[in-house]
């Protein structure tokens, strides 16, 4: 089981101080948050992707590569990478590059994005959001698995003899999570490819997330990737922790009340009752998180949102101390004792390499010499299918 934090990258006014951090301040802060996440013993850090203010994270791979250089153990990922408005060719290239630089300590989560005006900025149309997401992933999947891709789809120019470079590290594609809260087609795609399925599990009760998780597990088995229990499930969550429950409520309430999305709506009490949010002592967060396991069964990744709504850096770092110091160690122990030996390990690059090669050496693609045009011939790499033979002239 992996534990981590995910950030949407919002730059929000701190309701207590009245200050809105600058983009520079917030970007610097997020790097500190990620580094701290590793320091306190968490496994994963994820950043969102947005292309409009008040968010800063338009270029997740740049940020994650920087964090990779500052950390040693932490897995870097996204929440989410927009599979709709990004060209899948660019996703294949950028995330393979990140995978090399991070020495495999990365994966990515795909999402659609729900802001209509963003789509046309990238030449797309939200009304086609779902088919776009599905088709783009079909292409991305090929680009990371086939050295030379011929492809034609509805949404981008066809590809003839295209090679996405660099090839994935050890020729093992980055692990992919498909994120969805209510779209069976996305869960089906995750199951079809044997990829992970991630339920955001922030705004809706656990029963809501359970429906598609169960569907995904069933389809994962249907497609022969393993049993239902071996399907790979990630879950979001949200917590504010203080040593004493009443301090947690007091400290978090001003941020909750003005939070983007649910601020000025439900009360903190209504929201904690109706959704996975916990505001309380470490023990309360532990107890609530264990109820997720009761509902979903063994799952592989638990993410927490802890840095939004204008919370200042110091407060977020304190949250990480409590999460990493008091909550996660107990959860690791509790969940390990409940774990079914049949269930899947959390995905890592090392695990995927092992699954592909056993104890044998991993493939290390070495390109053939530049032929001047990059398109003729069938084998861009020395070990790929035999080179086309050209007649002597």
């Amino acid at each position: 089981m992996q534990f981590g934090v995910f950030s949407v990258s919002d730059i929000t006014r701190d309701p207590i101080s009245g200050e809105t951090p600058s983009e520079a301040e917030r970007i610097e802060a997020i790097v500190k948050i990620a580094v701290k996440a590793e320091e306190v013993g968490l496994d994963v850090f994820a950043i969102g992707e947005h292309h409009n203010p008040p968010f800063f994270s338009s270029s997740p791979t740049t940020l994650l590569a920087h964090i990779a250089a500052l950390t040693e153990r932490l897995i870097l990922t996204t929440a989410t990478t927009l599979i709709t408005t990004n060209d899948p060719v660019r996703i294949a290239e950028e995330y393979a590059m990140l995978q090399h630089l991070a020495k495999g300590r990365m994966d990515l989560m795909l999402g659609r994005g729900n802001t209509a005006p963003v789509y046309p900025w990238f030449g797309q149309d939200i009304r086609q959001g779902l088919p776009l997401a599905l088709e783009n992933y079909n292409l991305l999947h090929k680009l990371w698995r086939e050295d030379v891709v011929d492809w034609e789809g509805q949404f981008r120019t066809p590809l003839q003899g295209f090679t996405s470079t660099p090839r994935p590290l050890d020729d093992v594609p980055p692990f992919v999570w498909h994120g969805s809260i209510r779209t069976p087609e996305i869960a089906e795609q995750a199951a079809f490819y044997g990829n992970g399925y991630f339920a955001n599990h922030i705004f809706w009760p656990t029963s809501h997330s359970k429906r598609l998780i169960d569907f995904y597990r069933q389809r994962f088995e249907h497609y022969g990737h393993g049993t239902r229990k071996q399907a790979i499930v990630g879950v979001g969550g949200q917590a504010y922790i203080a040593k004493r429950s009443q301090d947690a409520v007091k400290e978090f309430r001003p941020y909750f009340d003005e939070a983007p999305v649910y601020g000025h709506g439900p009360t903190l009490e209504e929201f904690t009752q109706g959704t996975p949010l916990t505001v309380g002592s470490p023990q309360e967060v532990i107890d609530k998180t264990l109820t997720f396991h009761d509902a979903f069964g063994d799952y592989q990744r638990q993410m927490f949102l802890i840095d939004h709504a204008g919370m200042p850096l110091g407060m977020v770092l304190d949250q990480l101390e409590l999460l990493g110091g008091e909550v996660v160690p107990v959860l690791r122990k509790e969940l390990a004792s409940r774990r079914d030996p049949e269930s899947a390990d959390a995905p890592t690059h090392a695990g995927l390499v092992k699954a592909k090669y056993g104890d044998g050496p991993a493939r290390q693609p070495r390109p053939n010499a530049n032929r001047g045009d990059n398109v003729t011939g069938a084998s861009p790499y020395q070990d790929s299918a035999p080179a086309a033979e050209y007649p002597e002239i």
């Binding site: 599905l134 789809g153 509805q154 209510r182 089906e188 795609q189 079809f192 429906r211 709506g265 109706g274």
Partner: protein, 231 residues
């Protein structure tokens, strides 16, 4: 006519805000008329009342955050199992009250498909009379309900006119006949799939997944391209 084994479940939704409220009173008169008629015909009706006044906070919360509170969740359960509905709104400004409209705006599109509904409204002046037919009826058409032909509108002066009672009686028998016909159940069992649905809709009960759709083919590595004409 067959006698139903179980009583019909009639849900009364009232957006009246005072207590007692004329909007609620109008809804109650319609509901009890339905019950009385059913009894005369050897049937029975069980009435559940959803007083929107008590849900006001949860309705606005649902609008701004999609969070359904416990009272909203109960109301959705009541409507989901209702055989018929009486929906009654006060008119303040040439439209059903915001509380009334907002409640129906946050319900899943699929929750009320084919259910018979009596629409009713109260107002301080007869100038609001067409609100029921011109506005409420279109809202309920969007929700794909089966609204009865007779709308019940009561302005101040209607409360001491016998004609109001006659309109109530007319609407009540229309609703009862639609409930007795089993129209909603039959539409739902025979034609449910022909309506557009969203996964998890109808109060979380619409969980059918069509695995053979074009999108599902695309999800599983297929193509969205139209097949080309042979060259």
């Amino acid at each position: 006519m067959t006698t139903p084994k179980e009583p019909f479940r009639l849900a009364v939704v009232s957006a009246g805000t005072s207590d007692p409220s004329s909007t609620r009173m109008l809804a109650d008169r319609i509901a009890s008329r339905v019950a009385a008629l059913a009894q005369e015909r050897g049937g029975a009706v069980a009435i559940d009342v959803i007083d929107l006044r008590e849900l006001a906070g949860e309705i606005t919360t649902a609008i701004v955050s999609q969070l359904m509170g416990p009272k909203m969740t109960r109301a959705i359960e009541v409507l989901g199992r209702a055989d018929g509905i009486v929906a009654s709104a006060p008119v303040y400004k040439a439209a059903p009250s915001g509380l009334f409209s907002s409640f129906f705006h946050v319900l899943d599109n699929d929750l009320l498909i084919a259910k018979p509904v009596v629409l009713a409204a109260t107002a301080g002046t007869a100038r609001h009379a067409l609100v029921v037919d011109e506005q409420m009826r279109s809202l309920f058409a969007y929700l794909r309900t089966m609204t009865v032909p007779t709308s019940v509108f009561a302005a101040t002066e209607d409360w001491n006119a016998a004609e109001l009672g006659e309109r109530i009686g007319r609407a009540a028998i229309e609703l009862l006949l639609l409930m007795e016909s089993g129209f909603a159940d039959q539409v739902r069992s025979e034609s449910w799939k022909s309506y557009q649905h969203e996964y998890g809709s109808a109060g979380g009960t619409e969980l059918d997944i069509d695995l053979s759709s074009d999108l599902m083919r695309l999800a599983t590595g297929g193509s969205a391209l139209k097949p080309k004409r042979p060259e």
